[in-house]
């Protein structure tokens, strides 16, 4: 798979249209890596001139900040900003709503001002510009429900672009009882991904999976690598792996377009 880096681009004297911010999950997590690859396939199909930072990318610091470690967050932010500004990056796209939120909202005050897109917004733009089409026959008629990531939805009011894309797949989109601004967290945000949950009577991801299962879906669509992991675990917990798949919207589009 061809994934150019900013360093290579610079060596050739080129400035790509957009930087793909892969994020730690998208780089290292086996499940999330598939989302990164699916998204790159889409970028290639639409002939998007993009690059990644590769080994020069580092954690945005989102998890550190939300865990309360503002020092570590700002150190990460300032290092990343130095790299991004060094490459004169203007436009960033990412599949991770946490990176999206941090780059978009928290970096500007520290000197990092970029136009930041979640991959669902970016893909939607590609479609409206006529650069990409989604084949609506492959997944036709499948029952799909969408889980809103908190850091995309409530945190940044992005509710429509993921839904628009799902509808273009020709599938049957059903909403959970808690959706959009009232959606339930997957349980991973605020650095919960990296620790055991506090004592309670249930795991958050199990409760959210129950919300999803009530819609009797064949596919649970997500737009966040952490939500993806949490919902996948929830489905395993409920022993529904045979009936229900958890897929990122980028993966669904890549699948629909046979990429």
């Amino acid at each position: 798979m061809i994934v150019p880096t900013m360093a290579e681009m610079m060596a050739q004297g080129k400035q790509p249209e957009v930087l793909f911010w892969v994020g730690a999950a998208g780089s290292y997590d086996d499940r999330a890596k598939k989302i990164s690859r699916a998204f790159v396939k889409i970028l290639h199909q639409a002939n998007v001139d993009f690059a990644v930072l590769g080994t020069e990318e580092s954690s945005t610091g989102d998890a550190a900040k939300r865990a309360g470690n503002e020092f570590l967050f700002q150190m990460q932010a300032m290092m990343n900003i130095e790299v991004l500004n060094g490459y004169e990056v203007k436009k960033i796209v990412t599949c991770d709503p946490h990176s999206f939120n941090t780059l978009k909202n928290e970096y500007p005050e520290l000197g990092g001002k970029y136009e930041v897109f979640h991959h669902t917004q970016f893909i939607q733009n590609l479609i409206s510009e006529g650069r990409l089409k989604i084949d609506d026959t492959t997944l036709k008629g499948k029952r799909v429900t969408f889980h809103d990531p908190c850091y995309l939805g409530r945190a940044n009011d992005v509710y429509e672009s993921p839904r628009e894309l799902i509808k273009r797949l020709g599938v049957n989109l059903t909403e959970m009882k808690r959706n959009k601004s009232t959606a339930l967290c997957c349980g991973a945000g605020g650095a919960q991904m990296f620790k055991d949950a506090e004592k309670g009577d249930k795991e958050v991801n199990v409760l959210r999976t129950e919300d999803a299962l009530e819609t009797k879906p064949q596919i649970i669509a997500t737009g966040c690598p952490y939500c993806n992991t949490m919902m996948t675990d929830g489905i395993k917990f409920k022993e529904k792996e045979a009936e229900v798949e958890v897929k990122d919207i980028a993966e669904l589009i890549a699948e629909a377009n046979n990429l």
């Binding site: 290292y28 865990a67 409530r154």
Partner: protein, 438 residues
């Protein structure tokens, strides 16, 4: 002698408003114990928020049933103030139904008739509220932070409103002249027959008593506010005005940290530099919040504004799955501690004397704080734009940056970010390996 009631009335009014003003000053002083935060920008947006959310109740109706009942009580409260104004003028000048002459029979009849209908609707709404709180099993009214005073406070407010509305209707029903005129009495005309067997003197006595108890009750209720969650009827307005306008996911960047990090990352900075001769010793700021004075004033205003409705808690994923965290309790604890600090200052002639307590641990436990997923459901739900998440984050910052007291797994995660640029222990050189795996 004939001016005695007027003098007594003026005295009661002065006493009621005076005591209230005193408490408002205390309230304002307590809120100012918080740190500064700039919420004076973007005035048109702020005004719009206040108009929509506080005045227009736009977030209340997200739960239609309680939202609708609340609007009845709210409109009743606003409108009834015109009636209170008439009572005050009558009381001070010894007039009777002074607006009748001023506004003319027709308009006056319309107004009072409207008030009577509202009063009856408010009474019904309040009874339903009481039933919801005390009879039906609504989970958010049964949480453990709602035991004791918070529960009786909620009920007291409802009793107050029931009594005040009844007195208003009885006062109209026993006003013989008003009833005989037959204008503006759509509800009270049905109450009037109850007093048929009474002598005219007794009916007049009842009318006067209802009138007096009604206005004195209002003055008592006014002064009850400061001690009650009912304070929201006043503070919802400034609270929505000064609320955060940034995207909910945007957490503030601590400036004190920025300065330190910049210094740390500056290759030209001299690590052994001494402060210049005569320069003031700079006391390093505390990072994060362990007590109310470490929070900013809007967070403290939030605490006083909280109506303890529990919509936040009923949407909180941690709370829904049985964890200790309840965003409502975070707000109630903050107010309780702030009140305690305020009383401490009053008792010590204007200065706070260390009482060996703080918001962290004595009120809010680290377990509650670490259960938060920062999902913003509580912030989204609050009908008056309170932000419990910002308090949770500031307290986590204290735990991590001042006490190094993060859960062990989070310390590992942070060490990994520091060393490898990712929350997991992978080599940064492997960051692009995914492109060659299939």
């Amino acid at each position: 002698m004939e001016y005695l009631p007027n003098i007594f009335f003026a005295l009661a009014l002065a006493l009621g408003f005076g005591f209230f003003a005193m408490n408002i000053r205390k309230l304002s002083r307590n809120i100012k114990l918080g740190k500064d935060v700039n919420r004076k920008d973007r005035k048109p947006e702020r005004l719009k928020n206040m108009m929509m959310i506080a005045l227009g109740q736009s977030k209340m109706i997200k739960r239609p049933f309680s939202g609708f009942l609340h609007i009845i009580v709210y409109v009743g409260f606003i409108i009834i103030n015109i009636e209170v104004l008439e009572i005050i003028i009558d009381g001070l000048f010894g007039t009777h139904r002074v607006f009748q002459g001023v506004l003319g029979n027709g308009f006056y009849a319309f107004l009072i008739g409207f008030f009577e209908i509202l009063a009856a609707l408010v009474f019904v709404a309040v009874v339903i509220f009481w039933l919801r709180r005390n009879v039906s099993n609504i989970k958010r009214f049964l949480s453990k932070e709602m035991k004791g005073w918070p529960k009786s406070d909620g009920n007291n407010i409802l009793y107050f409103e029931m009594v005040l509305m009844s007195l208003f209707l009885v006062m109209n029903a026993t006003d013989t002249v008003f009833q005989q005129a037959g204008i503006g009495n759509p509800i009270s005309q049905f109450i009037e027959p109850l007093f048929d067997s009474f002598s005219p003197e007794s009916i007049h006595m009842i009318e006067r008593s209802a009138w007096w108890i009604h206005i004195l009750g209002i003055l008592v209720f006014l002064n009850y506010l400061y001690y009650s969650k009912h304070l929201h009827i006043l503070l919802a307005f400034p609270n929505t005005y000064f609320a955060n306008l940034n995207p909910k996911g945007q957490f503030n960047n601590l400036e004190s940290v920025t300065t330190e990090v910049k210094l740390m990352m500056d290759p030209d900075a001299d690590p052994y530099a001494m402060p210049a001769e005569g320069a003031e010793e700079v006391v390093p700021e505390k990072f994060g919040a362990s007590d109310v004075a470490d929070l900013h004033w809007v967070q403290l205003l939030n605490a006083y504004t909280c109506t303890e409705c529990g919509r936040c808690t009923s949407a909180c994923p941690a709370n829904l799955t049985g964890k200790e965290l309840s965003p409502r309790k975070i707000m109630m604890d903050t107010r309780d501690r702030l009140e305690e600090v305020g009383r401490n200052i009053d008792a010590n002639k204007g200065v706070f004397v260390d009482d060996g307590k703080q918001l962290l641990n004595d009120y809010i436990s680290p377990e509650e704080l670490w259960a938060c997923t920062s999902c913003n459901a509580c912030v989204e739900e609050c009908p008056v734009n309170i932000d419990p998440l910002s308090i949770i984050l500031d307290m986590r910052r204290y735990l991590v940056m001042e006490e190094s007291a993060a859960p062990q797994e989070l310390n590992m995660m942070m060490t990994n970010i520091e060393n490898n640029g990712a929350p997991w222990q992978y080599n940064q050189q492997d960051r692009l390996n995914w492109k060659d795996e299939e």
